[in-house]
Point group: C2
Chain length 274, copies 2
């Protein structure tokens, strides 16, 4: 059995709830932490959102998300950096454990994947001082290669680790997300390499067939093809003792009653080997 | 400009044509080689298919495909091995440069990806003597990780190379397929590691959005996001001097007049840096 005191519900799993509703849901289901998204936080107002989750007694395990650094155009690049600096300030005020970075796909109009990767490393280097000043840890997320062209050219955990290792450990870590890394024969070795760098551990399952919107092809733990136990064991062996977020993008789950979703999240998580 | 004397049309690109029609198409468009599929070859009759392509003066750059080894059930496993032995005999009679292996996804009812990978290595070991006896080279194909669960747990070229290196080079090589490997930051290094092991080089482009049937999301060269030049340069630097196949799964292209498709294949290929 997993330790439910480490469970966090990522707000994206209950897409239609605002911050207050999502916080109430966590409280009703004895889920002690929440992963927040910048959109609903902005809708609630940053101070109000921070007060709401604090009053609910919830820990904020992550803020999603910064990133989208892959602009060659100077104005677009400056705007992305400014937006990420804002995200760092928001993460600080929310006392989030980490700010998740989805780094961006190919540069618009370009097929140069190396260029995109260099722009990402450069952008993170520019953000590190701001992150350190406010005590916010950035978390580089590798996305499944199916998202390489349009969302994130950091396609393997190993690449995220290589990136993070260029910076101080308190400033830059990585996300381990089962959905994105389960297929990778090197995932276990890369999780070990990430010791001291794991800033977030997220769970969802790989289900088939893929839906028309590829982004929404995630399932509840146990509904798909992922063997969670070895990944969780590797994450634990690498020293990660933080919250474990369930983050599911799935239209059917979004359309379900949120209390049903939270109950399923809780049950499926608890039933994992711990 | 690429050398059109090295171009091969994979039959899957003109899905609705039988072997004789596909061979005629290649001749009409001065495409000197063809990649055949076992289904249409069986429809034509093996001897007749072999005679047809030979009479047309075409080289057979590959036979697609063997594989699907990931069965734990002994009867299913024996059937898969028997089918692969038949495929080896067919490849020999067609004088194909290689028999492409799509290794199979997770074992039915299992989430143990390590088990699936072990079953693949074991199956290839069993097939190597038959392949050597008939002078057929097997080509392990890594499929894009989006196909990991249901089609091929060999998700990176590096894994395919690791597998091939366990066996004699004349018996087991790898396929480099741009569609499957373009996203991988290690692809260049793994192509270099594959020197002397590249048995097939296949081209198609990664287009977005993905179609409802994930398998059919390939495009003509230049219609998508892949930078072909560095991959082709790495393949050439690794010593591969064989045919270069264009293999596209795409409903729109299948529905187009085959002569238009062949002309586009020819033009787009020729325009690549060579």
């Amino acid at each position: 059995m997993s330790d439910v005191r480490r469970l966090s519900l990522n707000q994206a799993t209950v897409q239609h709830l605002d911050v207050a509703q999502a916080a109430d849901l966590c409280v009703r289901h004895a889920i002690p932490a929440i992963g927040l998204w910048r959109g609903p936080v902005a809708d609630a107002g940053l101070s109000s959102a921070a007060a709401t989750v604090r009053a609910a007694g919830l820990h904020v395990s992550s803020l999603c998300r910064g990133g989208f650094f892959t602009h060659a155009d100077p104005a677009a690049r400056a705007a992305a950096l400014a937006d990420n600096r804002a995200a760092i300030r928001e993460a600080a005020q929310l006392q989030a454990d980490t700010l998740v970075l989805v780094s961006g796909g190919l540069v618009p109009g370009s097929r140069d994947i190396g260029l995109a990767r260099r722009l990402i490393a450069d952008a993170i280097a520019e953000l590190v001082p701001a992150a350190q000043e406010l005590g916010v840890r950035l978390a580089v997320e590798a996305l499944h290669p199916v998202f390489c062209a349009d969302r994130c050219v950091i396609s393997r955990l190993g690449e995220a680790v290589d990136l993070a290792l260029q910076f101080p450990a308190d400033a830059v870590g990585v996300v381990v997300d089962t959905y994105h890394v389960w297929w990778d024969a090197q995932a276990g070795a890369d999780i070990a390499r990430a010791a001291g760098r794991i800033a977030s551990y997220q769970l969802s399952d790989w289900i088939l067939p893929l839906p028309a919107q590829t982004l929404l092809g995630r399932g509840h733990i146990g509904d798909g093809h992922i063997d969670f136990a070895p990944i969780s064991a590797a994450v634990a062996a690498a020293g990660y003792a933080g919250y474990i977020e369930v983050e599911i993008f799935n239209q059917e789950i979004w359309d379900a009653p949120p209390d049903d979703t939270a109950a399923t999240v809780q049950q499926r998580y608890a039933a994992l080997p711990g």
